[in-house]
Symmetry: C2
Amino acid sequence: MGGKNILIAHGGGPTAVINRSLQGAVEAARSLKFGGKIYAARFGAEGILAGDLIDLTDVPAQTIARLDGTPASAIGSCRRKLADADYPIVLDTLKKFDVGYFFYNGGNDSMDTCHKVDELAKREGLALRVIGIPKTMDNDLVLTDHCPGFGSAARFAAISASELALDASALPIHVVVAEYMGRNAGWVTAASALAARLTNCPVLTYLPELAVDEDKMLSDIENAWAQGRGLLVTVSEGLRGLDGKPLADTGIVDGFGHVIPGGTAQHVTDAIIRKLGIKSRAEKPGLLGRAAMAYASEVDRTEAYDAGSAAVYAALSGRSGSMVSIRAERTPVYASSMELVPLAEVANAEKTFPLEWIEDGNRIGDAFFDYALPLIGGQLPQYAILR
Amino acid sequence: MGGKNILIAHGGGPTAVINRSLQGAVEAARSLKFGGKIYAARFGAEGILAGDLIDLTDVPAQTIARLDGTPASAIGSCRRKLADADYPIVLDTLKKFDVGYFFYNGGNDSMDTCHKVDELAKREGLALRVIGIPKTMDNDLVLTDHCPGFGSAARFAAISASELALDASALPIHVVVAEYMGRNAGWVTAASALAARLTNCPVLTYLPELAVDEDKMLSDIENAWAQGRGLLVTVSEGLRGLDGKPLADTGIVDGFGHVIPGGTAQHVTDAIIRKLGIKSRAEKPGLLGRAAMAYASEVDRTEAYDAGSAAVYAALSGRSGSMVSIRAERTPVYASSMELVPLAEVANAEKTFPLEWIEDGNRIGDAFFDYALPLIGGQLPQYAILR
C-alpha cells in the first residue's frame, strides 16, 4: 500500500510552458476526483530536501488556469544536482507527506533524479509511482520527438530574429549579432534562421555543434555585409572555436565545475568592429528566450498541458519508472500524442542537432524546418517590405 | 502653385509603429481621393538626396494594411544628418518629382530637417506643405504629451522585465541585469520598473538622467539580493557614472563624434561577480525593444496611425511648418487627440525624465505610472505565483 498524495517538482531552468504542465497535472487530478493532497515542492529539489512543500489542493481553479500565461516556475525551481547522500532524505520527505505519486518536471538531470528515486523506492518496497514530465527549451532529450518548452523557445528565436533582421536591413548601419540560449544544443538558435525566409535580410547562423573557424566566420560576414542589404548574424551562447573552447565565457563556474559560456554575440561584434572595421552591435535576449509569453507556441502550450495531464493519468493507473514522451507525425498534417518511455533510457543521453542539417557552416537546411515549423506553430507573420 | 505629389520619409531608428504612421498617411490620402502620386524615400534622407523614391501609389490595399504588423521601416531609414550643402539637393528632388506635400516621420533631428526644408521652400517661393510626424521610442520630443513608438517600447520594457523578474525569482541563482534602450532619456527603462508591481521579485531601476555612484549601486544590489527572493536590476544603455561618462561604451563613434554607450548591463554584471562575489547574468534585448511586435501597445498603434493620417489631412488642407502632436487627458479615462505645433519650437529641444519621479535613486514613483500606464495600454498580465 503506497502513499495517497501527489508531489510535483520542477527541476532546472524554466520554460514558457512548464507551468502549463503543472496546470495539466493539477487539472487531471481534479478531473479524476483524486482524493489525496496535491503538493508541489517549493524550489524543486531544495524544497523536497527541506520538507518545504506547497499545498495546491485547494488553490482556486481560476489561479490554476492562470498558470497558462505565467512564465518561469510558479512553484520555484533549482539547479541542485542531488548527491547519493541526498536520496534517503528525499525518501523521508515522500514518506512524511504520505506521497504515493511523484512527478518530476525537467530535463536530463531531472530524469536521472527521477530514475534514481524510482529505483530506490522499489528497493525499499515503497509503492511509489514515479513519472517524469519532459521539459527543456534545449530540446536535447532522447526518445521523444521534441520537448515541451522547445516550440515556444524556437518561436521566440524565429520571430525575434525576423524582427531584428527587419531592423538590420531597414537601417543598415551595422551588423546585428544576436545570441540565443543553448550551451551544447543548437536547436533553438537554428530556429532563428527562419529570419532568412521571412525577411529579405541576409542571415548567418552558427550552432554549438559545429566548431567555428573565426577567420572564416569573419570573412563570411564581410562578404554578406558587402551585399549592402544589412546583415543579421545569430549565434548560440555555447558556440565553440576550433580549439573546442567556447568563444566567450561568463567567468562563472557552474555546480559541475564547468565555466559557463556566454557573451558570444559581444565577442563576435567586437571582432567585426576591430578586425573588419564594420560597425556592429550585439543583442542578447537571454532568459527572455524561455520567458517571453507573447511568443509562446500554441502547439507547445497544448502539448505541455497534455504531458502534465498524461503523467497523472499514467501514475494513477499504476505506471511508474517512465517519462512522458511526445510521438509526432507531420504528414498529412501535424498530429501528436503522449506515450511512455523508460526513464532508464532517457537519463544521461543527449540529442544534439544533426550536423547534416547545417549547410556551408552557417545556413540551416529545409530538413530542420520540416521538423520544427509545426512546433513553432501558429500563424507566422507576413511583413510588408516596400523598399 | 505647388507640386501635386506626396513624399513621405523616415528618419532615424525605427519603432514598432512607424509603419503604422505610414499606413495612416497612405490610407488618409486614398480616402481623400488624393489625385497625385504617393512617393516614399528609399532609406530616408539618403533616398531623397539620391532621387531614389518608391512609388506607393498603386501598392495594393492589403499590402498597406500589412504595415500594421511590420516592425522596422518598410521603406528604409538612415541616420544621415543633413549638412547645409544638402538642402538645395533635397529641394531639387522635391521639384523633380513635383512634390507638393512633404512628410518627415522622425525624432528631434528629423524635425530639425523638416523645419529647415520648410524655411528653405518658403524662401524660394515654393508652395510646399511640410508636416512632421513624431516618432521616437525615447519619448524625448517636447510639445507633445508623448511620442508614437514610446508606448510600444514601454510595454516591451514593462512586460519583458516582468518576465525576467519571474525567472529571476523562480530560480534565484543569479542577479539578472537587463539593459534597455535610451542613451539620454530614461522613459523606456522607467517602464521596466512595472516588474516590481506585477511580480514579487525585488527590482532596482537606473536611468541615465541620474548619475550613479557605482559603490552605492553595488551596496544596494547586495542588500536587495540578501532578501533571498531573487533580484532584477534594469539599466538604461546610456547610464552615467558620477564623472558624467557612460558606465560602458561600444567603442563606436557616431556621426556626431560621440562614443556610443552600451554594454551597461554586462558592465554591472561583471562588477556584481567581481566585487560582490554574487553570480549574475546580463541580458540585452537591444533592438527588440523597438521591433518586438508581440509587445506593441494598442494605444500606440492607434495613435501612430492617427498621427500619419492627421499629417496628411493637415497638409492637404494647406497647413505647413508644423508637427503633429498628441494631446492627452487621463481622467476620467484616457483619451487623446491630434493637434499641430510649430516645428520651430520642437526642433532641438529635448524632454528628459523628471528627476522627482525617481525615488531613492533606483525606484520609479507612481507619478510615472499615472503618466505611462495608459500608453503601455491594453490588458496587463496577471501571473499565478504559488511559491
